[in-house]
Protein backbone atom coordinates (compact mmCIF):
# COMPACT_ATOMS: atom_id res chain seq x y z
CA UNK A 1 0.00 0.00 0.00
CA UNK A 2 1.27 3.43 -0.75
CA UNK A 3 1.96 6.08 1.83
CA UNK A 4 -0.43 8.46 0.23
CA UNK A 5 -3.23 5.96 0.08
CA UNK A 6 -2.69 4.88 3.63
CA UNK A 7 -3.05 8.39 4.87
CA UNK A 8 -5.94 9.42 2.76
CA UNK A 9 -7.90 6.29 3.53
CA UNK A 10 -7.39 5.97 7.22
CA UNK A 11 -5.96 9.01 8.92
CA UNK A 12 -8.10 8.24 11.95
CA UNK A 13 -7.43 4.58 12.55
CA UNK A 14 -3.66 4.90 12.25
CA UNK A 15 -3.29 7.47 14.94
CA UNK A 16 -5.65 5.94 17.44
CA UNK A 17 -3.84 2.60 17.58
CA UNK A 18 -2.12 2.43 20.95
CA UNK A 19 1.63 2.08 21.21
CA UNK A 20 3.07 1.01 24.53
CA UNK A 21 6.09 3.28 24.52
CA UNK A 22 4.16 6.46 23.95
CA UNK A 23 3.62 8.70 26.90
CA UNK A 24 0.20 9.68 28.04
CA UNK A 25 -0.72 13.01 29.52
CA UNK A 26 2.38 14.70 28.18
CA UNK A 27 0.75 18.08 28.61
CA UNK A 28 1.79 20.86 26.34
CA UNK A 29 4.99 19.39 24.85
CA UNK A 30 3.43 17.65 21.81
CA UNK A 31 1.56 20.80 20.91
CA UNK A 32 4.77 22.78 20.88
CA UNK A 33 6.18 20.35 18.34
CA UNK A 34 3.00 20.47 16.28
CA UNK A 35 2.64 24.24 16.53
CA UNK A 36 4.71 25.36 13.51
CA UNK A 37 2.93 22.98 11.14
CA UNK A 38 -0.56 23.57 12.53
CA UNK A 39 -0.25 27.35 12.76
CA UNK A 40 0.95 27.56 9.15
CA UNK A 41 -1.80 25.23 7.97
CA UNK A 42 -4.43 27.31 9.71
CA UNK A 43 -2.98 30.58 8.49
CA UNK A 44 -2.63 29.59 4.87
CA UNK A 45 -5.21 26.87 4.29
CA UNK A 46 -8.05 26.54 6.78
CA UNK A 47 -8.73 30.15 7.74
CA UNK A 48 -8.57 31.21 4.06
CA UNK A 49 -10.94 28.36 3.21
CA UNK A 50 -13.49 29.67 5.72
CA UNK A 51 -12.93 33.22 4.48
CA UNK A 52 -13.45 32.13 0.88
CA UNK A 53 -16.70 30.50 1.96
CA UNK A 54 -17.82 33.76 3.57
CA UNK A 55 -16.69 35.76 0.55
CA UNK A 56 -18.82 33.62 -1.74
CA UNK A 57 -21.92 35.38 -0.32
CA UNK A 58 -20.51 38.86 -0.90
CA UNK A 59 -19.86 41.12 -3.82
CA UNK A 60 -16.40 42.64 -3.77
CA UNK A 61 -13.98 44.03 -6.35
CA UNK A 62 -10.78 43.16 -4.46
CA UNK A 63 -9.89 46.79 -3.71
CA UNK A 64 -8.93 47.15 -0.05
CA UNK A 65 -10.95 50.35 0.27
CA UNK A 66 -14.08 49.07 -1.46
CA UNK A 67 -16.86 47.73 0.77
CA UNK A 68 -17.95 44.10 0.66
CA UNK A 69 -21.68 43.92 -0.06
CA UNK A 70 -23.75 40.95 1.15
CA UNK A 71 -25.65 39.39 -1.76
CA UNK A 72 -26.67 36.02 -0.35
CA UNK A 73 -26.83 33.26 -2.92
CA UNK A 74 -26.68 35.62 -5.91
CA UNK A 75 -23.09 34.69 -6.76
CA UNK A 76 -23.99 31.02 -6.95
CA UNK A 77 -27.06 31.75 -9.10
CA UNK A 78 -24.98 33.90 -11.48
CA UNK A 79 -22.30 31.31 -11.82
CA UNK A 80 -24.70 28.59 -12.85
CA UNK A 81 -26.20 30.89 -15.47
CA UNK A 82 -22.87 31.72 -17.13
CA UNK A 83 -22.18 29.86 -20.34
CA UNK A 84 -18.46 30.34 -19.73
CA UNK A 85 -18.81 28.14 -16.69
CA UNK A 86 -20.31 25.32 -18.72
CA UNK A 87 -17.46 25.51 -21.24
CA UNK A 88 -14.96 25.48 -18.40
CA UNK A 89 -16.54 22.42 -16.81
CA UNK A 90 -16.62 20.48 -20.08
CA UNK A 91 -13.01 21.39 -20.72
CA UNK A 92 -12.04 20.31 -17.21
CA UNK A 93 -13.58 16.94 -17.98
CA UNK A 94 -11.76 16.85 -21.32
CA UNK A 95 -8.41 17.54 -19.64
CA UNK A 96 -8.97 14.77 -17.11
CA UNK A 97 -10.14 12.15 -19.61
CA UNK A 98 -7.55 13.24 -22.17
CA UNK A 99 -4.76 12.73 -19.63
CA UNK A 100 -5.66 9.13 -18.89
CA UNK A 101 -3.90 7.60 -21.89
CA UNK A 102 -0.67 9.34 -20.90
CA UNK A 103 -0.89 9.09 -17.13
CA UNK A 104 -2.27 5.56 -16.82
CA UNK A 105 -2.83 3.49 -19.95
CA UNK A 106 0.40 3.90 -21.96
CA UNK A 107 2.65 3.76 -18.87
CA UNK A 108 0.89 0.59 -17.71
CA UNK A 109 1.47 -1.10 -21.07
CA UNK A 110 5.06 0.05 -21.22
CA UNK A 111 5.78 -1.22 -17.72
CA UNK A 112 4.29 -4.64 -18.43
CA UNK A 113 5.93 -4.97 -21.84
CA UNK A 114 9.36 -3.92 -20.66
CA UNK A 115 9.53 -5.90 -17.44
CA UNK A 116 12.26 -8.13 -18.91
CA UNK A 117 14.63 -5.30 -19.79
CA UNK A 118 17.59 -5.31 -17.47
CA UNK A 119 20.77 -3.58 -16.56
CA UNK A 120 22.31 -0.31 -17.65
CA UNK A 121 20.04 0.33 -20.61
CA UNK A 122 17.00 0.13 -18.38
CA UNK A 123 18.49 2.77 -16.09
CA UNK A 124 19.29 4.93 -19.11
CA UNK A 125 15.72 4.70 -20.41
CA UNK A 126 14.40 5.51 -16.96
CA UNK A 127 16.63 8.52 -16.68
CA UNK A 128 15.61 9.83 -20.09
CA UNK A 129 11.85 9.38 -19.93
CA UNK A 130 11.82 11.04 -16.53
CA UNK A 131 13.44 14.27 -17.74
CA UNK A 132 10.18 16.10 -18.63
CA UNK A 133 8.97 15.69 -15.03
CA UNK A 134 11.93 17.79 -13.85
CA UNK A 135 11.66 20.60 -16.41
CA UNK A 136 9.88 23.71 -15.08
CA UNK A 137 6.34 24.05 -16.49
CA UNK A 138 6.99 27.44 -18.07
CA UNK A 139 10.02 26.03 -19.87
CA UNK A 140 7.88 23.14 -21.12
CA UNK A 141 5.26 25.64 -22.30
CA UNK A 142 7.80 27.78 -24.15
CA UNK A 143 9.61 24.92 -25.83
CA UNK A 144 6.36 23.37 -27.08
CA UNK A 145 5.26 26.78 -28.29
CA UNK A 146 8.40 26.86 -30.42
CA UNK A 147 8.05 23.27 -31.66
CA UNK A 148 4.39 23.79 -32.57
CA UNK A 149 4.65 27.35 -33.86
CA UNK A 150 2.47 28.11 -36.89
CA UNK A 151 5.29 29.49 -38.97
CA UNK A 152 8.62 27.67 -38.94
CA UNK A 153 7.91 25.45 -35.94
CA UNK A 154 9.63 22.09 -36.42
CA UNK A 155 6.42 20.07 -36.30
CA UNK A 156 4.65 22.24 -38.85
CA UNK A 157 7.75 22.25 -41.05
CA UNK A 158 7.70 18.46 -41.06
CA UNK A 159 3.96 18.37 -41.72
CA UNK A 160 4.43 20.74 -44.65
CA UNK A 161 7.27 18.58 -45.98
CA UNK A 162 4.97 15.58 -45.82
CA UNK A 163 2.43 17.57 -47.81
CA UNK A 164 -0.12 17.71 -45.01
CA UNK A 165 -0.31 21.49 -44.65
CA UNK A 166 0.17 23.33 -41.38
CA UNK A 167 -1.90 22.99 -38.23
CA UNK A 168 -2.60 25.86 -35.84
CA UNK A 169 -1.92 23.78 -32.76
CA UNK A 170 -2.36 26.67 -30.37
CA UNK A 171 -4.38 29.07 -32.52
CA UNK A 172 -7.09 26.79 -33.91
CA UNK A 173 -9.96 26.41 -31.40
CA UNK A 174 -10.39 22.79 -32.50
CA UNK A 175 -6.80 21.85 -31.73
CA UNK A 176 -5.73 24.01 -28.81
CA UNK A 177 -7.38 21.98 -26.05
CA UNK A 178 -5.85 18.74 -27.32
CA UNK A 179 -2.45 20.44 -27.61
CA UNK A 180 -2.52 21.63 -24.01
CA UNK A 181 -3.64 18.21 -22.82
CA UNK A 182 -0.72 16.68 -24.70
CA UNK A 183 1.78 19.06 -23.10
CA UNK A 184 0.38 18.31 -19.63
CA UNK A 185 0.56 14.59 -20.36
CA UNK A 186 4.05 14.78 -21.86
CA UNK A 187 5.34 15.78 -18.43
CA UNK A 188 3.55 12.88 -16.77
CA UNK A 189 4.39 9.84 -18.90
CA UNK A 190 7.78 9.30 -17.29
CA UNK A 191 6.51 9.59 -13.75
CA UNK A 192 3.67 7.10 -14.27
CA UNK A 193 5.88 4.68 -16.18
CA UNK A 194 8.34 4.65 -13.30
CA UNK A 195 5.67 4.07 -10.69
CA UNK A 196 4.23 1.18 -12.70
CA UNK A 197 7.67 -0.31 -13.36
CA UNK A 198 8.51 -0.21 -9.67
CA UNK A 199 5.21 -1.78 -8.70
CA UNK A 200 5.60 -4.39 -11.41
CA UNK A 201 9.12 -5.25 -10.33
CA UNK A 202 7.84 -5.62 -6.77
CA UNK A 203 5.50 -8.45 -7.73
CA UNK A 204 6.66 -11.72 -6.22
CA UNK A 205 8.21 -13.78 -9.03
CA UNK A 206 7.00 -17.04 -7.53
CA UNK A 207 3.39 -16.24 -8.49
CA UNK A 208 4.39 -15.82 -12.10
CA UNK A 209 6.55 -18.96 -12.06
CA UNK A 210 3.76 -21.00 -10.49
CA UNK A 211 1.28 -19.81 -13.10
CA UNK A 212 3.74 -20.60 -15.87
CA UNK A 213 4.20 -24.14 -14.61
CA UNK A 214 0.44 -24.51 -14.58
CA UNK A 215 0.56 -23.63 -18.27
CA UNK A 216 -0.80 -20.11 -18.14
CA UNK A 217 -0.20 -18.04 -21.26
CA UNK A 218 1.53 -14.68 -21.21
CA UNK A 219 -1.73 -12.84 -21.48
CA UNK A 220 -3.33 -14.93 -18.72
CA UNK A 221 -0.45 -14.09 -16.41
CA UNK A 222 -0.91 -10.40 -17.14
CA UNK A 223 -4.67 -10.54 -16.71
CA UNK A 224 -4.89 -12.75 -13.63
CA UNK A 225 -1.72 -11.87 -11.73
CA UNK A 226 -0.08 -8.66 -12.85
CA UNK A 227 -3.12 -6.45 -13.40
CA UNK A 228 -4.78 -7.31 -10.07
CA UNK A 229 -1.52 -6.78 -8.19
CA UNK A 230 -0.95 -3.50 -10.02
CA UNK A 231 -4.46 -2.31 -9.20
CA UNK A 232 -3.41 -0.16 -6.20
CA UNK A 233 -1.02 1.76 -8.47
CA UNK A 234 -3.58 1.97 -11.27
CA UNK A 235 -6.09 3.41 -8.84
CA UNK A 236 -3.62 5.78 -7.22
CA UNK A 237 -2.59 7.25 -10.56
CA UNK A 238 -6.19 7.40 -11.79
CA UNK A 239 -7.18 9.21 -8.65
CA UNK A 240 -4.30 11.65 -8.97
CA UNK A 241 -5.27 12.30 -12.59
CA UNK A 242 -8.90 12.93 -11.69
CA UNK A 243 -8.15 15.15 -8.70
CA UNK A 244 -5.13 17.07 -9.98
CA UNK A 245 -5.12 16.68 -13.79
CA UNK A 246 -6.97 19.91 -14.48
CA UNK A 247 -4.74 21.79 -12.02
CA UNK A 248 -1.57 20.55 -13.68
CA UNK A 249 -2.63 22.19 -16.93
CA UNK A 250 -3.00 25.62 -15.33
CA UNK A 251 0.51 26.86 -16.07
CA UNK A 252 0.22 25.91 -19.76
CA UNK A 253 -3.14 27.65 -20.14
CA UNK A 254 -1.78 30.73 -18.45
CA UNK A 255 1.46 30.90 -20.44
CA UNK A 256 0.25 29.71 -23.84
CA UNK A 257 -3.38 30.58 -24.51
CA UNK A 258 -4.95 32.56 -21.65
CA UNK A 259 -7.92 30.25 -22.00
CA UNK A 260 -8.40 31.05 -25.70
CA UNK A 261 -8.80 30.84 -28.64
CA UNK A 262 -12.53 31.41 -28.13
CA UNK A 263 -12.40 30.02 -24.59
CA UNK A 264 -11.54 26.62 -26.02
CA UNK A 265 -8.78 25.82 -23.52
CA UNK A 266 -10.06 27.37 -20.31
CA UNK A 267 -10.87 25.13 -17.38
CA UNK A 268 -12.45 25.58 -13.99
CA UNK A 269 -9.21 26.53 -12.23
CA UNK A 270 -8.34 29.06 -14.87
CA UNK A 271 -11.83 30.59 -14.61
CA UNK A 272 -11.39 30.92 -10.84
CA UNK A 273 -8.18 32.84 -11.46
CA UNK A 274 -9.74 35.01 -14.17
CA UNK A 275 -12.70 36.00 -11.99
CA UNK A 276 -10.44 36.75 -9.08
CA UNK A 277 -7.56 38.61 -10.68
CA UNK A 278 -8.61 39.67 -14.19
CA UNK A 279 -12.23 40.78 -13.86
CA UNK A 280 -11.84 41.40 -10.11
CA UNK A 281 -15.07 39.75 -9.09
CA UNK A 282 -13.94 38.10 -5.87
CA UNK A 283 -17.43 36.89 -4.96
CA UNK A 284 -17.87 34.96 -8.18
CA UNK A 285 -14.44 33.43 -7.90
CA UNK A 286 -15.09 32.41 -4.29
CA UNK A 287 -18.50 30.92 -5.12
CA UNK A 288 -17.11 28.97 -8.07
CA UNK A 289 -14.20 27.91 -5.85
CA UNK A 290 -16.54 26.55 -3.20
CA UNK A 291 -18.45 24.54 -5.79
CA UNK A 292 -15.17 23.21 -7.18
CA UNK A 293 -13.86 22.29 -3.75
CA UNK A 294 -17.10 20.54 -2.78
CA UNK A 295 -17.25 18.58 -6.03
CA UNK A 296 -13.65 17.45 -5.86
CA UNK A 297 -14.06 16.49 -2.20
CA UNK A 298 -17.03 14.29 -3.13
CA UNK A 299 -15.06 12.78 -6.00
CA UNK A 300 -12.08 12.12 -3.72
CA UNK A 301 -14.34 10.42 -1.19
CA UNK A 302 -15.85 8.18 -3.89
CA UNK A 303 -12.39 7.35 -5.27
CA UNK A 304 -11.19 6.30 -1.84
CA UNK A 305 -14.22 4.08 -1.32
CA UNK A 306 -13.64 2.45 -4.71
CA UNK A 307 -9.96 2.00 -3.96
CA UNK A 308 -10.67 0.33 -0.63
CA UNK A 309 -13.15 -2.02 -2.20
CA UNK A 310 -11.40 -3.01 -5.41
CA UNK A 311 -7.65 -2.72 -4.92
CA UNK A 312 -5.89 -6.05 -4.43
CA UNK A 313 -3.01 -6.16 -1.99
CA UNK A 314 -0.40 -8.85 -1.73
CA UNK A 315 -0.24 -9.51 1.99
Amino acid sequence: MTDIQADLTQPMSIAIRPAPSRQRGAGIAPWLYLAPALILLFMWTYVPLVEAFKLSFYQWNMLPTAPQRFVGLDNYRRIFALSEMRTALWNTLFYIIGLFPMSVIIPLFVAILTQDLQGRLRMLYRTLIFVPMIVPPVVAAILWRWLLSDDHGLVNNLLALAGLGTVGFLTDPHCALATLTWITGWKLIGFSTLLFSAANAGIDRSYVEAARIDGASRWQIVRDIRLPLLSPTIMLLSMMTILFGAQWSFAYISVLTNGGPLKSTTNIFYVLWEYGFETLSAGWSAAAGMITFASFAVIAFCCLRLMKRYAVYDN
Binding site: S13, R22, L34, Y46, M62, I129, W146, L158, L243
Partner: protein, 284 residues
Protein backbone atom coordinates in the same frame (compact mmCIF):
# COMPACT_ATOMS: atom_id res chain seq x y z
CA UNK B 1 24.76 -7.95 -31.03
CA UNK B 2 22.33 -10.80 -31.58
CA UNK B 3 24.32 -13.05 -29.30
CA UNK B 4 24.37 -10.35 -26.73
CA UNK B 5 20.61 -9.91 -26.75
CA UNK B 6 20.09 -13.67 -26.71
CA UNK B 7 22.25 -14.29 -23.71
CA UNK B 8 20.61 -11.35 -21.96
CA UNK B 9 17.12 -12.70 -22.47
CA UNK B 10 18.24 -16.13 -21.35
CA UNK B 11 19.71 -14.63 -18.26
CA UNK B 12 16.37 -13.11 -17.30
CA UNK B 13 14.86 -16.57 -17.32
CA UNK B 14 12.59 -16.10 -20.32
CA UNK B 15 12.49 -17.90 -23.65
CA UNK B 16 12.10 -14.60 -25.52
CA UNK B 17 12.96 -14.31 -29.15
CA UNK B 18 15.38 -11.59 -30.07
CA UNK B 19 12.68 -9.98 -32.19
CA UNK B 20 10.69 -9.35 -29.04
CA UNK B 21 13.62 -7.79 -27.27
CA UNK B 22 14.32 -5.58 -30.26
CA UNK B 23 10.70 -4.39 -30.27
CA UNK B 24 10.92 -3.59 -26.57
CA UNK B 25 14.06 -1.55 -27.08
CA UNK B 26 12.43 0.20 -30.01
CA UNK B 27 9.48 1.11 -27.80
CA UNK B 28 11.70 2.45 -25.04
CA UNK B 29 13.84 4.38 -27.51
CA UNK B 30 10.70 5.94 -28.99
CA UNK B 31 9.47 6.99 -25.55
CA UNK B 32 12.87 8.35 -24.55
CA UNK B 33 12.97 10.26 -27.83
CA UNK B 34 9.55 11.83 -27.20
CA UNK B 35 10.67 12.78 -23.70
CA UNK B 36 14.06 14.22 -24.51
CA UNK B 37 13.92 15.54 -28.06
CA UNK B 38 11.93 18.71 -27.25
CA UNK B 39 14.56 19.62 -24.66
CA UNK B 40 17.38 18.83 -27.07
CA UNK B 41 15.67 21.01 -29.67
CA UNK B 42 15.39 23.86 -27.19
CA UNK B 43 19.12 23.73 -26.44
CA UNK B 44 20.08 23.41 -30.12
CA UNK B 45 17.81 26.30 -31.10
CA UNK B 46 19.36 28.45 -28.41
CA UNK B 47 22.75 27.93 -30.09
CA UNK B 48 21.55 28.92 -33.55
CA UNK B 49 22.30 32.38 -34.86
CA UNK B 50 19.45 34.59 -35.96
CA UNK B 51 19.70 33.69 -39.66
CA UNK B 52 19.92 30.01 -38.83
CA UNK B 53 17.04 29.69 -36.36
CA UNK B 54 14.44 28.47 -38.85
CA UNK B 55 16.62 25.75 -40.32
CA UNK B 56 15.68 22.22 -39.38
CA UNK B 57 19.21 20.89 -39.09
CA UNK B 58 19.83 18.85 -35.96
CA UNK B 59 22.96 20.82 -35.14
CA UNK B 60 23.62 24.50 -35.92
CA UNK B 61 25.93 25.11 -38.87
CA UNK B 62 27.72 27.80 -36.89
CA UNK B 63 26.96 27.46 -33.17
CA UNK B 64 26.86 30.88 -31.57
CA UNK B 65 26.24 32.29 -28.12
CA UNK B 66 24.67 35.51 -29.35
CA UNK B 67 21.25 34.52 -27.98
CA UNK B 68 22.75 34.08 -24.55
CA UNK B 69 24.45 37.45 -24.77
CA UNK B 70 21.09 38.96 -25.68
CA UNK B 71 19.38 37.34 -22.67
CA UNK B 72 22.06 38.49 -20.26
CA UNK B 73 21.73 42.01 -21.62
CA UNK B 74 17.93 42.14 -21.54
CA UNK B 75 16.99 40.16 -18.47
CA UNK B 76 18.39 39.86 -14.92
CA UNK B 77 18.60 36.13 -15.42
CA UNK B 78 21.30 35.45 -12.82
CA UNK B 79 19.40 37.39 -10.20
CA UNK B 80 16.26 35.42 -10.99
CA UNK B 81 18.07 32.11 -10.78
CA UNK B 82 19.59 33.17 -7.46
CA UNK B 83 16.12 34.15 -6.19
CA UNK B 84 14.71 30.80 -7.21
CA UNK B 85 17.58 28.98 -5.55
CA UNK B 86 17.04 30.88 -2.30
CA UNK B 87 13.31 30.23 -2.37
CA UNK B 88 13.67 26.54 -3.22
CA UNK B 89 16.41 25.77 -0.69
CA UNK B 90 14.65 27.63 2.12
CA UNK B 91 11.27 26.08 1.33
CA UNK B 92 12.75 22.59 1.29
CA UNK B 93 14.62 23.16 4.57
CA UNK B 94 11.54 24.57 6.30
CA UNK B 95 9.32 21.74 5.08
CA UNK B 96 11.79 19.22 6.49
CA UNK B 97 11.96 21.13 9.79
CA UNK B 98 8.22 21.61 10.34
CA UNK B 99 7.60 18.08 9.07
CA UNK B 100 10.12 16.52 11.49
CA UNK B 101 8.71 18.39 14.48
CA UNK B 102 5.10 17.49 13.69
CA UNK B 103 5.92 13.88 12.83
CA UNK B 104 7.87 13.48 16.08
CA UNK B 105 4.92 14.75 18.11
CA UNK B 106 2.52 12.40 16.36
CA UNK B 107 4.78 9.38 16.79
CA UNK B 108 6.02 10.05 20.29
CA UNK B 109 2.96 11.03 22.27
CA UNK B 110 -0.48 9.55 22.51
CA UNK B 111 -2.84 12.46 22.27
CA UNK B 112 -6.57 12.33 22.38
CA UNK B 113 -6.74 14.63 19.37
CA UNK B 114 -4.10 12.80 17.32
CA UNK B 115 -6.65 11.40 14.87
CA UNK B 116 -8.11 14.83 14.37
CA UNK B 117 -4.71 16.45 13.84
CA UNK B 118 -3.72 13.75 11.39
CA UNK B 119 -6.93 14.19 9.44
CA UNK B 120 -6.52 17.95 9.40
CA UNK B 121 -3.04 17.64 7.94
CA UNK B 122 -4.04 15.04 5.35
CA UNK B 123 -7.16 16.95 4.29
CA UNK B 124 -5.27 20.18 3.64
CA UNK B 125 -3.88 18.37 0.61
CA UNK B 126 -7.29 18.34 -1.02
CA UNK B 127 -7.86 22.08 -0.88
CA UNK B 128 -7.00 23.42 -4.35
CA UNK B 129 -4.87 26.51 -4.14
CA UNK B 130 -7.16 28.43 -6.47
CA UNK B 131 -9.95 28.13 -3.91
CA UNK B 132 -8.07 29.88 -1.12
CA UNK B 133 -6.07 32.27 -3.31
CA UNK B 134 -8.08 35.46 -2.72
CA UNK B 135 -7.95 35.40 1.10
CA UNK B 136 -4.31 34.30 0.88
CA UNK B 137 -3.47 37.14 -1.45
CA UNK B 138 -5.23 39.70 0.77
CA UNK B 139 -3.48 38.30 3.84
CA UNK B 140 -0.07 38.35 2.16
CA UNK B 141 -0.53 41.92 1.01
CA UNK B 142 -1.55 42.96 4.54
CA UNK B 143 1.65 41.39 5.87
CA UNK B 144 3.60 43.31 3.23
CA UNK B 145 4.75 40.13 1.54
CA UNK B 146 3.87 41.11 -2.04
CA UNK B 147 6.82 41.07 -4.40
CA UNK B 148 9.14 39.57 -1.79
CA UNK B 149 10.93 36.24 -1.52
CA UNK B 150 9.56 35.76 2.00
CA UNK B 151 6.06 35.82 0.59
CA UNK B 152 6.95 32.97 -1.73
CA UNK B 153 8.50 30.91 1.07
CA UNK B 154 6.31 31.31 4.16
CA UNK B 155 3.00 29.82 2.92
CA UNK B 156 4.94 26.80 1.62
CA UNK B 157 6.94 26.30 4.80
CA UNK B 158 4.72 23.39 5.73
CA UNK B 159 3.42 20.67 3.45
CA UNK B 160 0.96 17.94 4.35
CA UNK B 161 3.01 15.63 2.18
CA UNK B 162 6.19 16.32 4.17
CA UNK B 163 4.55 15.65 7.54
CA UNK B 164 2.94 12.42 6.34
CA UNK B 165 6.08 11.12 4.62
CA UNK B 166 8.22 11.70 7.71
CA UNK B 167 5.48 10.39 10.00
CA UNK B 168 5.45 7.12 8.11
CA UNK B 169 9.19 6.63 8.15
CA UNK B 170 9.40 7.64 11.80
CA UNK B 171 6.76 5.16 12.86
CA UNK B 172 9.04 2.29 11.91
CA UNK B 173 11.85 3.72 14.03
CA UNK B 174 12.76 1.20 16.79
CA UNK B 175 11.21 2.38 20.04
CA UNK B 176 13.95 0.67 22.06
CA UNK B 177 16.45 3.21 20.83
CA UNK B 178 14.18 6.03 21.93
CA UNK B 179 13.68 4.39 25.32
CA UNK B 180 17.43 4.03 25.73
CA UNK B 181 17.84 7.70 24.95
CA UNK B 182 15.30 8.59 27.57
CA UNK B 183 16.96 6.34 30.15
CA UNK B 184 20.14 8.28 29.56
CA UNK B 185 18.23 11.39 30.50
CA UNK B 186 18.07 12.95 27.05
CA UNK B 187 15.21 15.38 26.55
CA UNK B 188 12.85 15.18 23.61
CA UNK B 189 14.63 17.91 21.74
CA UNK B 190 17.94 16.06 21.97
CA UNK B 191 16.38 12.69 21.12
CA UNK B 192 14.84 14.18 17.99
CA UNK B 193 18.00 15.87 16.72
CA UNK B 194 20.67 13.48 17.95
CA UNK B 195 18.99 10.09 17.57
CA UNK B 196 15.96 10.26 15.29
CA UNK B 197 16.99 12.79 12.64
CA UNK B 198 20.46 11.34 11.87
CA UNK B 199 18.90 7.92 11.42
CA UNK B 200 16.30 9.25 9.02
CA UNK B 201 18.80 10.63 6.52
CA UNK B 202 17.29 8.71 3.60
CA UNK B 203 13.67 9.88 3.91
CA UNK B 204 14.84 13.40 4.76
CA UNK B 205 17.00 13.48 1.63
CA UNK B 206 14.11 12.24 -0.54
CA UNK B 207 11.80 14.82 0.92
CA UNK B 208 14.35 17.61 0.48
CA UNK B 209 14.83 16.70 -3.19
CA UNK B 210 11.10 16.57 -3.87
CA UNK B 211 10.43 19.80 -2.02
CA UNK B 212 13.29 21.57 -3.81
CA UNK B 213 12.09 20.49 -7.26
CA UNK B 214 8.48 21.37 -6.60
CA UNK B 215 9.45 24.76 -5.17
CA UNK B 216 11.61 25.42 -8.23
CA UNK B 217 8.68 24.53 -10.47
CA UNK B 218 6.01 26.36 -8.48
CA UNK B 219 4.06 28.65 -10.76
CA UNK B 220 0.77 29.79 -9.35
CA UNK B 221 1.68 31.56 -6.10
CA UNK B 222 4.61 33.49 -7.65
CA UNK B 223 2.24 34.52 -10.45
CA UNK B 224 0.04 36.22 -7.85
CA UNK B 225 2.78 37.76 -5.74
CA UNK B 226 5.46 38.87 -8.20
CA UNK B 227 5.51 42.40 -9.56
CA UNK B 228 9.02 43.28 -10.67
CA UNK B 229 11.12 40.93 -12.74
CA UNK B 230 14.18 41.29 -10.49
CA UNK B 231 12.20 40.10 -7.46
CA UNK B 232 10.65 37.15 -9.23
CA UNK B 233 11.56 33.52 -9.79
CA UNK B 234 12.46 31.76 -13.03
CA UNK B 235 8.90 30.76 -13.87
CA UNK B 236 7.60 34.31 -13.76
CA UNK B 237 10.75 35.87 -15.16
CA UNK B 238 10.51 33.61 -18.19
CA UNK B 239 6.87 34.41 -18.69
CA UNK B 240 7.57 38.13 -18.55
CA UNK B 241 10.45 37.71 -20.99
CA UNK B 242 8.21 35.77 -23.35
CA UNK B 243 5.53 38.45 -23.31
CA UNK B 244 8.10 41.15 -24.02
CA UNK B 245 10.13 39.41 -26.67
CA UNK B 246 7.25 37.67 -28.45
CA UNK B 247 8.66 35.52 -31.22
CA UNK B 248 12.39 36.05 -30.82
CA UNK B 249 12.79 32.31 -30.70
CA UNK B 250 16.56 32.19 -30.28
CA UNK B 251 16.72 34.37 -27.17
CA UNK B 252 13.58 32.73 -25.79
CA UNK B 253 15.17 29.30 -26.10
CA UNK B 254 18.36 30.60 -24.51
CA UNK B 255 16.40 32.05 -21.57
CA UNK B 256 14.42 28.82 -21.17
CA UNK B 257 17.64 26.79 -21.27
CA UNK B 258 19.29 28.98 -18.63
CA UNK B 259 16.22 28.78 -16.39
CA UNK B 260 16.16 25.01 -16.48
CA UNK B 261 19.90 24.45 -16.46
CA UNK B 262 20.39 24.33 -12.66
CA UNK B 263 17.62 21.81 -12.16
CA UNK B 264 18.75 19.69 -15.11
CA UNK B 265 22.31 19.67 -13.75
CA UNK B 266 21.08 18.61 -10.34
CA UNK B 267 19.08 15.86 -12.02
CA UNK B 268 22.13 14.65 -13.97
CA UNK B 269 24.22 14.48 -10.80
CA UNK B 270 21.60 13.07 -8.43
CA UNK B 271 19.58 11.24 -11.05
CA UNK B 272 19.23 7.96 -9.19
CA UNK B 273 18.21 9.66 -5.93
CA UNK B 274 15.76 11.96 -7.70
CA UNK B 275 14.02 9.08 -9.43
CA UNK B 276 13.95 7.07 -6.24
CA UNK B 277 12.49 9.88 -4.20
CA UNK B 278 9.72 10.38 -6.74
CA UNK B 279 9.02 6.65 -6.74
CA UNK B 280 8.97 6.43 -2.98
CA UNK B 281 6.53 9.29 -2.82
CA UNK B 282 4.05 7.11 -4.63
CA UNK B 283 5.10 3.69 -3.51
CA UNK B 284 6.50 2.24 -0.37
Amino acid sequence: MTIDLLSQSQATGGRRLTLRTICLHALMILLSFVAVFPIYWMIVSSLKAENDIFSTTLWPAYPSLENYAYVFAKMPILRIIANTTIVSVTTAALQVLTGLLAAYALVRWRMRLAGFVNGLIALSWLVPFQVTMIPNYVFASRLGLLDSLGGLIIPNAVAAFAVLLLYHSMRSFPTEVLEAGRMDGAGHWRILWEIVAPNMRAPIASLAILAFISAWNEYFWPLLLSRKIENSVVQIGLQMFMTQEGNLWGPLMAAATLASLPILLIYLVLQRQVIESFMKSGIR
